[in-house]
Symmetry: C2
Subunit: 341 residues, 2 copies
Amino acid sequence: MRLIVVGFGNVGRSLLSVMTEQARDLDERFGVEPKIVAVLDSKGGAVDSKGLNMRELLETETRERTVAATPKVGQFGLTPLSVIGDVEADIVLELTPTNPVNGEPGISHIEKAIRNGKHVVTTNKSPPALAMRRLQRMASQNKVLFRFSGTVGGGTPILEFTKKTSEADEVQSLRAILNGTTNYILTQMHDPNISMDEALSQAQRLGYAEKDYSLDVNGIDPALKLTIIANYALEREISFKDIRITGIADIRLEDVQNHKRERRKIKLICSIDDELSVAPVPVEAAQPICVDGSLNSVQLRTKYIGETTLVGPGAGGLQTATAILSDLLYIHQTRSQGNEA
Amino acid sequence: MRLIVVGFGNVGRSLLSVMTEQARDLDERFGVEPKIVAVLDSKGGAVDSKGLNMRELLETETRERTVAATPKVGQFGLTPLSVIGDVEADIVLELTPTNPVNGEPGISHIEKAIRNGKHVVTTNKSPPALAMRRLQRMASQNKVLFRFSGTVGGGTPILEFTKKTSEADEVQSLRAILNGTTNYILTQMHDPNISMDEALSQAQRLGYAEKDYSLDVNGIDPALKLTIIANYALEREISFKDIRITGIADIRLEDVQNHKRERRKIKLICSIDDELSVAPVPVEAAQPICVDGSLNSVQLRTKYIGETTLVGPGAGGLQTATAILSDLLYIHQTRSQGNEA
């Protein structure tokens, strides 16, 4: 299984660590031997068709801030589009940052990969949120798979859980907490001495919030995730623009405290029923969906099963790396079944 | 998709209702048209290779207490083994009751089906709990699939959630509430005026507890489920006998009340780490796993993701019927992928 890795931030580095640690297990249990034939970051890349040395890549990147500096195999100025087109590989891992404006450069990377007959796994939210149907059709025409488990819930399998439930039952409504940063902030504000600004600073110190936290606080990040869930797992044809979005910026410490006395907590709730919305809503503290800190949760109400809830960490490099592994195993298993017949 | 249904109790009847209601959806979304070619209960069966009329079967069974009385197609004295052997079909649904002593007659039904090249879906806990490896090997040799999602958690996808997490990550420990009857009883005992006997009577009135509730109260039922989880989802080679089992019979109202004051609840916890056990354990009420009423829950602690928790109803006819549908779709999708290559 030859991989091209595009984007080498926290998730890419975590993936290489996990793969190195789990290499023997992946081979023995699944017959999967991932071989990284190219890695790209913003300064260039490293290419070796025999497989790059993962430890050397990680060490070089730590020391030099770019994989382009890797001895012998590194090259400054290499671009993702040229490598995706020219280097032989089975799967492209698109791990560049989310761009909610137009999904670039992620969408172009993915289109190029699909046209070249390469499967795609991405953790970048904007391509599936802004162009899922088009990319799915293109993948299907080119007989490759397009997977994005890591875009929602980090390693918590929110997408697959929702999709499987929706296949065998009718999902009538969904409520979810899909953003760890805002959930951490709202949780901290239960302490009457912690303002939103103070909670936000804490979240940044702990690495939950990015330097640019506006996508979290404005509700854009969870709305992108909700778009992916609706289209992929619930097969609804909705666009990101269909979601009514209210962020948490106007929540006052006083509101949080008032609800606390009534055993409710204000949560940034993503919801799907007749309408789609992201908005701060008071939730009964005893509800399984009402999780604290940076946890995520999703609750489905279905016709036959009733209510089921999944709770877990919503982000993190190592967590998201397991979602990528899960997609790689899916591709491996789907291809093997095809070949056995 | 031609089905033989063996055992026609609450789950079998619910399945036919759900299939009738969802028929159009199953066809349009998945191209699946389930056709029931035989149904068997303890008195006989009904067979029609062109497909039985589901509504007529349900009406006959309600009126006459057996499908053998169905006009034209019914026959008293028909046995599952002869029908499984003689009637052409793709899948056998084994829905007879759990027999923890030796797994019969379920195991024999399943063996016969597999030897005849038929896929098997069961909701009967004893075959996968007592003979999983043997039945899996036999299925693999005969190129058929053996599925049992409905044996654990009703419609809540506890097995698949645990298996998928364990494939992409290392599950270091598992804790779960897997029996709705005992969880209901322990929850009711939070009221200081409700004794265990009173709670048990309530559970029977509500249909949670069988007339013979000993498998629940003694911890046998959740231990069978834990055996299935360990072998299937965690790939551990363990036998039912390896589990240390303590039921809830010795729990006193006073114990429940004492823990309540400390914000803990006594729960019948199934756990897997170095050892496997089923035992009443005090759990902090704020833990996501600490669910009330007849709910089930499972919490995984993994190397990379951390803690994830799934909560949902643990039983019920309609719920379990969706688990069967989910297995049928799995078989359909796996076979289609094989045929496309």
